[in-house]
């Protein structure tokens, strides 16, 4: 039976970690001391690169490499933005760190700032996280009183400020350039890349954007070394991952595991306690609502980034959503299409129009008003997936295409005009 490997969630649930004192008792802020006193910024970047840590927000970009993109000897201020906009449906891991171990995140942010030469970090937290924003604000104020934020941190001559910035309900602001325009006080429209944020980001200054879970892994990497961290997991996914298990399972939850030790089915069985009522699984979305759905007969593959990729999907943000045999897949495809339609920022025509078309067509199909050729039309719309500024349009396309591919018969059944014979057979006997 597979078990958790708790590194980031180590003390969560068993100890109170909200104050600096609590956190220090569990070894907290030791890594910051090491980073400020025993290591150069280059050595911190090197250690993180060696750890193999990759972004945990969904895209999986190597963190050490991202940090190394900050131009040397830059005269403008450098900014770090922590992406706490956790909005990908199914994803609920970052808030656990924010609400239950805020100093872990602050410590990771401070070390990251040291590494990239930043003296100002912003935590962009989604507006709906009232509690999380308050907890972070209190943690920051306490850390400042303790000399961990502000001028001359730990007497090591390093200055750094951290500010919390609440969003106001827009999925698109989880996209890194949308986050930046939002933080600049504009409508959260994503920007074209290049220039990449590391060169011209917030206020046109070099900026690094990292996810909460990513930054929270930094302290342990600095304390125990990149090689120690890299020894966990697989080549393409080192360390531990927080997986959010939801939907039709008996024990949903956020579980910290090392990838490579179990199959997807075993994960759902051992951690999720199986499906309620002993029902069969129909499909599983392995990495947040944007990622292509897998069928039940694809679940016996190892739960790794590599194997899920081979199966045509992605571990994305680590959000696994289980759907049992009673689920109407057309209904779910429509539900997700409505989400992306609502969240499209409207800048790019393919996304603004395409998400709307998806909803109109799927709604008709769901209501029994679909026309022959609708599936082909949907697939045709999908072909424009890479024609927008940001990945939201692709994120809207992938589920539609995957639901059509994996459960095509359910769509066909709703579109197929019922033959006269079938009508006659189902007519009540008189």
């Amino acid at each position: 039976m597979a078990e958790e490997t708790r590194v980031l969630l180590q003390h969560i649930g068993s100890a109170d970690l909200l104050t600096v004192k609590d956190y220090r008792e569990k070894g907290g802020y030791r890594a910051l001391e090491i980073a400020l006193k025993d290591k150069t910024p280059e050595q911190i970047v090197e250690e993180v690169a060696q750890s193999g840590l990759k972004g945990r927000g969904g895209a999986g970009f190597p963190t050490g490499m991202k940090w190394s993109f900050i131009p040397k000897d830059v005269e403008k201020p450098v900014y770090l933005c922590c992406n706490a906009d956790e909005s990908e449906p199914g994803t609920c891991k970052d808030r656990i760190i924010i609400e239950q171990n805020p100093h872990l995140l602050l410590e990771g942010i401070l070390i990251a700032c040291r590494a990239i030469g930043s003296h100002q970090a912003f935590i962009y937290i989604r507006g709906e996280f009232h509690r999380g924003a308050n907890i972070l604000q209190m943690a920051i104020e306490e850390a400042r009183r303790e000399g961990l934020i502000g001028k001359n941190i730990l007497g090591a001559g390093f200055d750094c400020e951290i500010a919390v910035y609440r969003g106001a309900g827009a999925y698109i602001c989880g996209e890194e350039t949308g986050l930046l325009t939002s933080l600049e006080g504009q409508r959260g429209y994503p920007r074209n890349k290049p220039p990449f944020p590391a060169v011209a980001g917030l206020y046109d200054c070099p900026t690094i954007i990292n996810n909460v879970e990513t930054l929270s892994a930094v302290p342990v990497i600095i304390e125990k070394g990149g090689a120690w961290y890299a020894a966990y997991g697989t080549e393409k996914s080192s360390g531990t991952r927080l997986l959010c298990l939801s939907g039709h399972v008996n024990t949903p939850g956020v579980y910290e595991i090392v990838l490579g030790n179990m199959t997807i089915r075993e994960f759902i069985r051992d951690f999720g306690g199986g499906v309620p009522g002993g029902r069969k699984i129909k499909g599983v979305i392995p990495g947040g609502s944007s990622m292509p759905v897998l069928r039940d007969d694809q679940l016996d593959i190892p739960l790794t980034v590599e194997d899920i990729q081979k199966a045509g999907s992605s571990l994305g943000s680590g959000a696994m959503i289980v759907m049992d045999e009673t689920v109407d897949m057309v209904e779910i495809a429509l539900l997700l299409a409505k989400f992306y339609e609502h969240e499209s920022c409207g800048q790019c025509t393919p996304c603004r129009e395409g998400t709307h078309w998806f909803v109109q067509i799927l709604e008709a199909v769901q209501q029994g008003e679909g026309r022959p050729g609708d599936i082909e039309l949907l697939l045709d719309i999908c072909r424009s997936e890479y024609t927008s500024i940001c990945p939201l349009w692709a994120a809207a396309v992938w589920p539609v295409r995957a639901f059509l591919k994996q459960f095509r018969e359910e769509f066909e059944a709703k579109i197929q005009p019922r033959s006269m014979e079938a009508e006659a057979e189902t007519a009540p006997a008189s």
Partner: protein, 165 residues
């Protein structure tokens, strides 16, 4: 900008919370970044994002009211009309949908006698279906004035509503 909206009606934040405005402006290297934080403050003071609230935020930031309206219309959380004393936001996205969000919504609509997006006649409750609240592993979930309620069932929802003053 209508002349009648000037001065008396659009000075509430500056009259009531001048210190808070300064504190917010100090956080950012550029003034415009204060738009969303000031709108939150305006929401608090005006009760919702009224035209007057938008005009005042625009005046504080030296931008046009239209610019602020552009921000407000982009972000779904800012209410353009009064919400209830208890503002209920029910997640209707995938994980909650799979675990009974529709029953939760129906129960609330029946109990309160309003539809999603409406406010009760006495002003006590308003109801809204919202996108994923990141409570997926304790679905279905909702928030009332920002406080989270999880593992909802129709029975539990009624208990929660009845327990509010």
């Amino acid at each position: 900008m209508p002349e009648t909206l000037h001065n008396q009606e659009t000075r509430k934040i500056r009259d009531q919370q001048p210190g808070k405005i300064d504190e917010i402006l100090r956080r950012f290297p550029q003034k415009k970044s204060a738009s969303i934080p000031l709108l939150y403050l305006a929401w608090d003071i005006y009760g919702y994002i009224s035209p007057e609230a938008m005009i005042e935020v625009a005046e504080i930031l030296d931008v046009s009211p239209a610019y602020i309206q552009g921000i407000v219309s982009f972000y779904t959380m800012f209410p353009l009309k009064m919400t209830g004393n208890y503002h209920i936001e029910v997640c209707a996205n995938i994980s909650c949908h799979l675990t009974g969000a529709q029953e939760v919504l129906k129960t609330l609509e029946n109990r309160l006698g309003i539809h999603c997006g409406e406010r009760t006649g006495d002003g006590r409750f308003s109801l809204q279906a919202v996108e994923c609240l990141a409570g997926c592993s304790s679905a279905p979930c909702m928030q009332i004035n920002g406080k989270e309620y999880t593992h909802l069932t129709p029975e539990k929802v009624i208990e929660i509503i009845d327990s509010l003053d």
